[in-house]
Amino acid sequence: MEFCDDCGSMMKTEGDHWVCGSCGAQKGRNEEKEQAQAVTTQGQEETEIVDTSEVDAAETTPTTSAECPECGNDRAHYEMKQIRAADESETRFFTCTECGQKWREDDH
């Protein structure tokens, strides 16, 4: 972006020099300066297909120590979602690592 030296208004390009819109003054162009200054590039977003067919949920879901009501095992996968009212905290959903039993827990 160039501004006219005489009148200070914004200049436009015409061919290979700048021309001021209001007073007609002209100025040469500087390729390098323009490349650096006038061109903004937004890079390509890397997206790929989210393919979770190979991912085993049993490996990726986090676990914690929680006692299973079925088999008594001490570890369970957990997930948390805020299901109840907005002023309540999240409900904890547990899945036992041994027997697969699911149960949930809320803050009373």
């Binding site: 972006m1 914004m10 436009k12 390009t13 162009r29 323009e34 006038a38 061109v39 903004t40 590039t41 937004q42 890079g43 390509q44 977003e45 997206t47 297909i49 989210v50 393919d51 979770t52 067919s53 190979e54 991912v55 085993d56 949920a57 490996e59 990726t60 879901t61 986090p62 676990t63 979602k81 299901i83 109840r84 949930r104």
Partner: protein
């Protein structure tokens, strides 16, 4: 840096940072004679590497972030006393993994990752590792780790008698579909295959330094005299040191030797590992005995004795010989006198009280190893039944010998009984044994005789290659071999190595172009491992507090002392948290349904695919691209040039090819994109380069330009506009395991028509969309399903479906979906009082009054309001009284 102008222009043109550009100039200047094309290639390669490794802000980086998203499989290790083979600075050793890692953890910096203590391994430490191409090689050890042992471990016993113990999630490698793949230990059962090393190299040093093995209190080294060491090194004091220096100068003592205190008979400090010493150690391991002063080996064979004597001669040691009468007949014993030798032998040839192969032997030069094996088997081996056997009470010794045989590509198996173990070299390997190692004396003759009778290319039950997948059939077909020849092998999914080798050779000869499967089979034949079946798997309790692991590059495998190859970790990318599609649940969702809201909060579709598409990943991906909306930023870089008032889009060729797999040519796709932009933005679009699209506003105005850029970002080039994200999951259905697509965003009408989509099993959660596309009855069913699903998710799945059916029926009774509230059913009631009692009371009453409406008092609410019995039950009937007339009821 002075470089050519052209080179400078080339490099300056790239996006590399200054530092890298300067590095390139340095390299080019240093090499001097690079052509411009070569420089161009180099620069391109450097740039692409640089761009690949650049990380954008907010990107997860490395394994740490993967672990913080989700938890990786925990506890994958081997117990402390499992012995593994390692190499440090070229010298091999077999050591307990526990001791090794504990030692490292004590002195080096540890960091804690997820309950594991991880230590970077010292440099120059290597382990024997199985590569993906089934060759065994020494690979650098990256890290070691340990963590608390779980309550149970698994112990695998293989058909060769070898065993290995590990945690349940510790992974091993096995062979599936003609490839080596990792598999967690707990998934392995009897009959599965594990690899055992049968061939490896060692390039260890040709000598071993006795200083490492001898106690410096009892011995002194001439090198300490001459290397300017302090007199305190000599355990005998200053005077002695001076005496010895004189003796050294006078030639009475040897340079570079070891002497015992008070003794004059010594050994070279750098003990050579060659044919003579190898035989000696092997002989000792087989039937030798050592005391403080001498090493005694007894054997009746003359050749054997000769070899032992030659060691004594070599080092100037004296030998005493004697005959001894024992229960087995006359034996002849040789005693080699020398404290140094005796002590050395006693130190290296024993471990934990039993005989064992010295650690450095595994990597020692071939002549040494050959001689050691020859010595051992000449003393202890028996040749019988077309096999070579050796027994010992020391299992560890035999394990070491078996591993040493791997240096010569010979494989052995174990058997046990009566408190001793037997190592057996199966007949297939006997000729190789005879040729490469050979025995001395009578045994040698018998060995040669046996070897000549055996055909090394005969059928081998012990060396099978499992799980070759379809490769056998493919190759047989390509070579025009009758399929019955490979049929049974294909059915059993295993084939003997010799047989496979024959087939591969025949195929290579007969066909001109080799099928890819042939290369895989060749690799299987050439592999450095023997695949063994698991005999049994049992759970055992660990003896030590910790379990340990090695982290090696590449396929991440390392080898135990018994030659079993085990795997380190399973490196999976953790999608947890990334691939979740959030759907409204619970009460808010029920409210959405009952209110028949036009746009649900989280519209989503569940798409099932047709036959061919449901199992083929590539085809599934094709469907994904057709559905997921593709915007401009996913296709290339967008540059705004305010000077020239232009917007330029540099499309990425690879991305275009990926997302338009069925397009005939790239130009077609680019033109398509250009046309789309033209029609939606209303500007003229030009194509200055093959993958560059350019346009600008009509009048040179900043405002228009920037507005165009904004609008450009929203244009959808491929896929359906409303569908923002598609996730592929594998689901278990009646047809088996197939791919299913879940979307964020719903456009049922458009999706049903896409090729590959199975319209009969695809649905969405927007009931209005279902109504529009599939009709009112389908909408009714969808309402019931969605409500039931919502309740089920909350654990309330015992609600009788009739209640939901009632609600759905009422909502859809009129042929359109009506909500329950005042805009739908409740607001359409005829009765004024009922409507007024529900919501907005005054409006209804006012309108009714203005229009003079009449309320027939038919429903429940209005009758309750006026106080009459309702028209159900008792009120269902009106009583009539007959005027006049009497009569009793009869």
């Amino acid at each position: 840096m002075e470089v050519d102008e052209d080179v400078r222009a080339l490099v300056e043109d790239t996006t590399l940072p200054r530092r890298l550009k300067e590095d390139v100039y340095e390299e080019v200047a240093a090499r001097g004679d690079l052509s411009l094309e070569a420089v161009d290639e180099v620069v391109q390669a450097v740039e692409s590497q640089y761009l690949d490794t650049r990380v954008d802000p907010l990107d997860p980086v490395g394994t740490v972030s993967a672990q913080s998203i989700g938890e990786p499989g925990t506890q994958m290790s081997v117990p402390a006393e499992e012995r593994v083979i390692v190499r440090r600075n070229g010298e091999t050793d077999v050591t307990e993994i526990g001791g090794l890692v504990d030692g490292l953890a004590a002195v080096r910096e540890t960091r804690s990752v997820d309950g594991h203590e991880v230590v970077t391994a010292p440099e120059n430490m290597e382990v024997l590792s199985l590569r993906a191409d089934e060759r065994v090689a020494w690979k650098p050890l990256d890290e070691v780790s340990r963590h608390e042992a779980p309550p149970e471990l698994l112990r695998f016993e293989l058909e060769s008698g070898r065993d290995v113990r590990a945690t349940k999630s510790h992974s091993f490698v096995t062979r599936r579909d003609n490839e080596v793949v990792p598999v967690p230990g707990e998934e392995l059962t009897g009959g599965d295959w594990l690899p055992v090393v049968r061939s490896f190299d060692g390039n260890g040093p040709g000598t071993v330094n006795l200083r490492e093995y001898l106690d410096s209190d009892d011995y002194w080294f001439t090198s300490t005299l001459t290397d300017g060491g302090v007199a305190a090194d000599s355990p005998a004091g200053k005077d002695q040191t001076r005496n010895k220096r004189e003796a050294l100068a006078a030639g009475e003592l040897d340079e570079g030797a070891v002497y015992p205190v008070q003794g004059t008979v010594g050994l070279p400090e750098e003990f050579p590992l060659d044919g003579t010493t190898g035989f000696f150690l092997g002989a000792f391991l087989s039937e030798g005995n050592a005391t403080d002063d001498y090493v005694s080996i007894s054997n009746v064979d003359a050749d054997f004795q000769h070899c032992v004597r030659s060691v004594a001669e070599r080092f100037g040691l004296s030998v005493s010989e004697y005959d001894n009468e024992s229960g087995f007949g006359t034996g002849h014993g040789l005693r080699v006198n020398g404290t140094v030798l005796a002590d050395f032998v006693r130190t290296v040839c024993y471990a934990d009280g039993e005989k064992a192969v010295p650690g450095f032997a595994f990597g020692a030069p071939r002549t040494f190893v050959r001689a050691l094996l020859a010595g051992y088997f000449s003393g202890n081996g028996t040749v019988a039944d077309r096999a070579v056997r050796a027994s010992s009470t020391s299992r560890r010794l035999l394990e070491g010998i078996a591993l040493l045989l791997g240096r010569f590509d010979i494989y052995g198996r174990f058997g046990s009984g009566d408190g001793s173990t037997t190592l057996r070299i199966p007949s297939k390997y006997v000729p190789a044994f005879a040729e490469r190692i050979g025995l001395v004396g009578d045994r040698g003759d018998r060995l040669d005789a046996a070897a000549s009778e055996i055909d090394p290319n005969g059928p081998d039950a012990t060396d099978q290659i499992p799980n070759v997948g379809d490769a056998l059939e493919t190759v047989a077909a390509a070579a025009d071999m009758p399929s019955r020849q490979v049929h049974s092998a294909h059915e059993r999914q295993r084939i003997g190595r010799n047989r496979l080798s024959e087939i591969v050779a025949n195929t290579a000869e007969s066909t001109a172009d080799e099928p890819a499967a042939l290369a895989d089979l060749e690799r299987a034949v050439e592999s450095d491992v023997v695949w063994e079946r698991i005999e049994s798997v049992e759970t055992v309790t660990p003896d030590h507090e910790y379990v340990y692991d090695f982290s090696v590059g590449g396929l991440e495998t390392f080898t135990t002392a018994q030659g079993v190859v085990t795997h380190n970790t399973m490196n999976t990318f953790h999608y947890a948290g990334v691939a979740e599609i959030d759907v409204t649940q619970g009460l808010p969702r029920l409210i959405e349904l009952v209110d028949a809201r036009k746009e649900p909060d989280t519209p989503t579709m569940s798409i099932r695919l047709d036959e061919a598409y449901a199992t083929d990943r590539e085809k599934a991906h094709e469907v994904v691209w057709q559905i997921e909306s593709t915007k401009i930023l996913q296709l290339g870089d967008v540059s705004t040039n305010v000077a020239d008032m232009l917007v330029q889009i540099d499309l990425n060729e690879e991305t275009l090819r990926e997302r338009w797999p069925t397009a005939d040519s790239l130009d077609e796709v680019v033109e398509d994109i250009a046309t789309t932009i033209e029609s939606s933005l209303g500007v003229d679009v030009s194509t200055p380069a093959r993958t560059v699209v350019q346009f600008g506003p009509e009048e040179p105005s900043y405002r228009d330009l920037l507005q165009l850029v904004e609008e450009l970002r929203d244009i959808v080039f491929k896929g359906i506009e409303d569908v923002s994200r598609v996730v592929i999951r594998k689901e278990e259905t009646e047809r088996g395991e197939e791919f299913e697509l879940y979307t964020e965003g719903s456009a049922l009408g458009d999706v049903l028509g896409i090729e590959g989509v199975d319209a009969s099993r695809t649905t969405c959660n927007d009931i209005h969309e279902i109504y529009r596309n599939l009709g009112i009855e389908a909408a009714r069913e969808a309402i019931i399903d969605e409500m039931y699903l919502t309740l089920e998710e909350q654990g309330l799945d015992e609600v009788n479906i009739r209640h939901l059916m009632l609600v759905a029926d009422i909502m859809t009774n009129r042929g359109t979906i009506q909500s329950i509230g005042r805009h739908g059913i409740s607001g359409n009631k005829e009765s004024v009082l009922a409507r007024a009692a529900f919501e907005v009371t005054v409006n209804h009453l006012l309108d009714a009054a203005i229009h003079g409406e009449v309320d027939d008092l038919n429903g429940v609410t209005e009758n309750v309001i006026v106080g009459k019995p309702i028209k159900l039950g008792t009120g269902d009937v009106n009583l009539r009284m007959n005027a006049g007339g009497s009569g009793s009821a009869d």
